[in-house]
Symmetry: C2
Subunit: 256 residues, 2 copies
């Protein structure tokens, strides 16, 4: 399983991804799911992947090596795209290309063609953007009102993003909240696990400000997990007990 | 969509269920999904349902009216079961009975036979138990280590249960945590909604100590939601910022 999230706030973009892959419960490996594409002074792009590893790796390779445009004969790579929208379209095209080649064989083996991507970043002259691209090659863009997108095992980590992230959130607070969201996911689904890759791209800089892998035992993340657990315990303990039907006031007990 | 949870702690059992049903997004109704079966001094049972409403209602009706045992000819109802285990088996039998009758027609209409139940309570002379029963009629029991079970839209509300509930949790703290779990689910999935039904059965009493419906605008639940939001905000703000690659200390910036 996989969990990847992207958060696009005023200050820039945060991308986070776990690295655990599994082909069955007894075949677990570590693979990078967060990929950076950068050309100095031109573009800084981050792509994270969920789903079938063979499909997502092939898509990433196609985007690096380039797809031939049948109309112009040109080789188009992710870094040659003139805009984020065009780049997202190219990812969709690469997914469909892989489906054409590998889809029938996967179908025969009864393996779902299951893949999704988060794609964020900025290309010179255009705005910073964050997209989610589906296995059919279609895509959506994150909104100002809900400035995050997730792929993979997304539900456990969604409540904290729903509550804590807005467009005005500080860039490194957004990173912190993304780490809390990852922690919630890891607690509830063991197939999402460390190490975690993170990337931060500040708006209008066109370079990654931070690229980091959080390894097992890293003190800050360990401390964040402990503090979050402690704070949640304190938070629910600080809420008054329900006023309904306590035995001490059984006079007010509710009937059937 | 539906969210139901059951928590079995030392003090007893908490059951919670929302009431929203939808046949498509534009056809939303309120239905009770938490049902109590009680015979004084003999048994106090709670059954909550998720999935296809016609199936779950038919199963509940069968359990009330009784199923004929083909071997003995006796009519068996949920309240005539001699043990919680036997009662859970009877629920499984009722599900399979409904599948035999309604399954083919549903299949023809391409509607999944999708139903699941939480079943908890106590029958005189036996221990208090909590089961989850699947659409095939098989079931699992909750464990001492993870003393809760969920059906329906369960992922959003699982992190708080994972962290906060243990067998030693006070009965009304368990209710409070179940309400927080419901709140997290309602925030992230609009198709789970108020009113909420709750039931509390104290161990070895064989009567429901609390049966209550939380309606829209109820002050305690509204206050719980506000306090939880505020506490979560405070909790993540109290966690130190990530030490990685802050621009202020760009000397330590991480490379690709």
């Amino acid at each position: 399983m996989t969990y990847c999230a992207g958060v696009l706030v005023g200050g820039g973009l945060v991308m986070i991804a776990d690295t655990r892959t599994n082909a069955g419960l007894d075949d677990i490996s570590t693979y990078r799911k967060l990929h950076l594409f950068q050309r100095e002074d031109h573009a800084c792009l981050a792509l994270s992947t969920a789903g079938n590893l063979s499909v997502s790796q092939t898509v990433v390779s196609l985007l690096q090596e380039g797809l031939e445009n049948p109309e112009t004969g040109e080789i188009e790579t992710l870094l040659s795209a003139p805009s984020m929208f065009k780049a997202a379209q190219l990812i969709g095209k690469a997914i469909r290309r892989v489906r054409t080649v590998d889809g029938p064989g996967l179908k025969e083996a009864e393996i779902r063609f299951d893949v999704s991507f988060l794609f964020g970043g900025q290309i010179k002259g255009g705005p910073m953007r964050l997209y989610m691209i589906y296995s059919a090659g279609n895509f959506i863009e994150c909104s100002h009102d809900a400035p995050f997108l997730q792929v993979g095992e997304h539900k456990y980590g969604k409540p904290i993003l729903d509550r804590a992230v807005s467009h005005g959130t500080d860039l490194y607070d957004a990173l912190k909240i993304a780490l809390i969201s990852m922690d919630s996911t890891m607690r509830s689904n063991l197939s999402v696990g460390l190490p975690i890759d993170i990337a931060v791209i500040r708006r209008d800089t066109l370079v990654p400000e931070l690229v980091h892998r959080i390894e097992i035992g890293e003190p800050y993340f360990h401390d964040l997990r402990e503090r979050w657990s402690t704070a949640l315990r304190a938070a629910h303990m600080a809420i008054p007990s329900p006023p309904y039907g306590r035995p001490a006031r059984s006079g007010s007990r509710n009937g059937l």
